[in-house]
């Protein structure tokens, strides 16, 4: 009787952990997406110490989620017995985590390289920033990333590694993950459909329609081939 009750508790803990991992994945996706969006402004005319700080903060948040997720998934997988019901789900989470980590590490490497190319330590460095056409900042994106909460209630002690250490850490983590747990990567079936997601919005071509301005009775211009842009009249300023 006691044995049966104990396994119920185990099952419940396991279920909680799996749910936490699912939510953590969504959170990690959010943070990494925001990180990438901010990274695209590096080296552009809106680059500055503010952007770099925001990037650092986001990276730390991602690191927190990653370490927690890594710990939980590892325990879930190592404690898995034969014929466990949520085996498929946990393996799926594992593969998603691996792909996430890889993708994020790539972004980290790019950011590190860009920060070296555009050091911003002196005033004249600002002249070299690329005029990309950005006008606003990325504070909204940073705010979105900052609002992400780690789904586990316990406050865990985590270090705040710097960029170089972080990248190396992920390398080590990935190798260790591949060696410790034997998950056949290619057997994972995706749960999302290919065209399942719909968030209708105007396409880039619609937005890029150029204003038609008739100045001094000059109307119409060259018709560009296969261009959804309307009549173009370049304003000579």
């Amino acid at each position: 009787m006691n044995r049966w009750r104990q396994s119920v508790v185990e099952i419940q803990t396991r279920k909680r952990q799996v749910n936490e991992s699912e939510r953590a994945h969504v959170a990690l996706s959010k943070v990494t997406a925001c990180y990438q969006q901010m990274a695209t402004s590096l080296g552009s005319n809106i680059d500055g110490s503010f952007l770099r700080e925001e990037l650092e903060e986001t990276r730390i948040v991602a690191h927190k989620i990653c370490s927690g997720l890594h710990r939980r998934l590892l325990t879930l997988l190592t404690e898995m017995e034969q014929g466990q019901e949520d085996k498929e789900q946990v393996e799926r989470l594992w593969v998603i985590f691996l792909s996430s980590l890889e993708n994020f590490q790539q972004d980290l490497k790019k950011v590190r390289a860009l920060q070296e190319i555009f050091p911003l330590t002196q005033r004249k460095d600002r002249q070299a920033l690329v005029n990309t056409g950005y006008a606003g900042g990325t504070s909204e994106v940073a705010a979105r990333a900052a609002m992400v909460q780690t789904p586990w209630l316990s406050i865990e002690e985590t270090e705040r590694p710097d960029m170089k250490t972080h990248i190396k850490e992920i390398d080590v983590m990935l190798e260790e993950m591949l060696q410790r747990v034997n998950v056949p990567l290619w057997s994972i079936e995706p749960m999302q459909e290919v065209d399942g997601v719909q968030e209708e919005d105007e396409s880039l071509e619609d937005i890029m329609e150029v204003e038609v301005v008739s100045q001094n009775n000059i109307s119409g211009c060259c018709q560009h081939y296969n261009c959804k842009v309307g009549c173009l009249l370049c304003l000579l300023s």
Binding site: A33, S99, E102, G133, Y225
Partner: protein, 481 residues
Amino acid sequence: MTIRNVRDHGQRYRPRMACLKKVETVVLEMQDPKTGVKSQTQRLVITTIPHAITGEDIVAWIANRLKIDASEAQAMGTMMVAFGYIYPLQDHKRLIIKPDTSLYRFQTPYFWPAQQWPVEDTDYAIYLAKRNIRKKGMLELYEQEEYNNLYKWMNHKWDFIVMQAKEQYRAGKERKKPDRVVFDCQERAYWVVHRPPPGTVSAMDHGLDRMVDPNLEEKKTPDYYRRIIMFTQQCIMRPRVKSSVSIGALVKYTATYKEHDPFLNSCLPSNPWLTDDITYWNLNMPNVETPTKMRVERWTFSFGELLADPRGRDDFRLFLKKEFSGENLAFWEGCEDLKWGAAETMKEKAQQIYKTFLARGAPRWINIDGKTMDITVKGLAHPHRYVLDAAQTHIYMLMKKDSYGRYLKSPVFKETQKKAAAPDAHRFSETQLEQNSKRRRPSLSPITLKQQEEEQKAKLAASGPVDITQVMSKLEKKQRK
């Protein structure tokens, strides 16, 4: 998930693109507010976006800064666009610089081409998924095909890809509208460079990956010096030819082939690589009825040329059939088949050739001298790929010295020469060239071509060679009558 195994000696290093660093310095100089390129605002229906630059400004700046003339500056500008440092705002699929008032903008450094990281398919999948999420049916045909491919072989990652695409889309929405437009333009331009649509030439087509990182400086270890020593020793041991002789040969070759070189002379009707019009290839298919005049002229250069061209070989075969000496060519072709064919059928092929051509009283007996026959028969006891080499060379020389000369004077050849086609040169306008580039389609798959070849071979075999016994029996029948 990439398999991380650095000891597999795989080819994964991209060829040297040291020019990237140099282009970057030039691009950074262009940003200077005082001495850089003048920028203006692009007016769209919903907003205005700064930092648009005109093609003519870019070309003028490059010409001024690097002290070169306008056409070279235009070429350099095109190179920058082809690499993806600058992207066009109109006609985004053509990566060239138009030295007029067409607008361009600088690409953000995150999307610059980098030598050390190849562009990942995962990112491309995420980008396509994002486009799909944003508006259904927005993907073009080639993008849809890629998307389906990626779905198939990245199937295990697909949940991650869709999740990340959704999140990236929502993160992008957080930005203000003009910045959103700019980011979308940048991303689109990035993927035009790295996954070019059909009809676009991007500079990232760099050929095969190398096994060794070409940007690494090689360490001067004892092994390295050993390799250098071996190489130089082999160079010394090579047989030497007087430079007057070798230069004479080069001059003769150039004089003969000058008219036929597509770089030095224009192809008729037009070079498909330049005009995207494949008439030239269609006219020069291997089994075409009427060859072109240039092709027929090539056959007169040497016997090797005649045999190498399948149409020429067909013509020669026809001529030999009329002369009843087709067995030489058939034997030669059989030997080629043996040399280049599959290893498992080699023994049977060798035996078949022996029975048909070399044995005493064989139906298509070829005339080779006693010594060669001896060597060949001895070799056939243990057949291998090159066992018939000696006989083949003998027959080749025979055909070259004897039949080839007669062929060039024969009515068959003269007939072919008369009927040969001489197409006029195409003259395409700019718009026609653009249309052509959009109409590009992949050519026939090699599988179809191979099937056609096999069918032709089977037809030849079925039509049956005329062998001596048949001819002799026919003559005998006639005599008896």
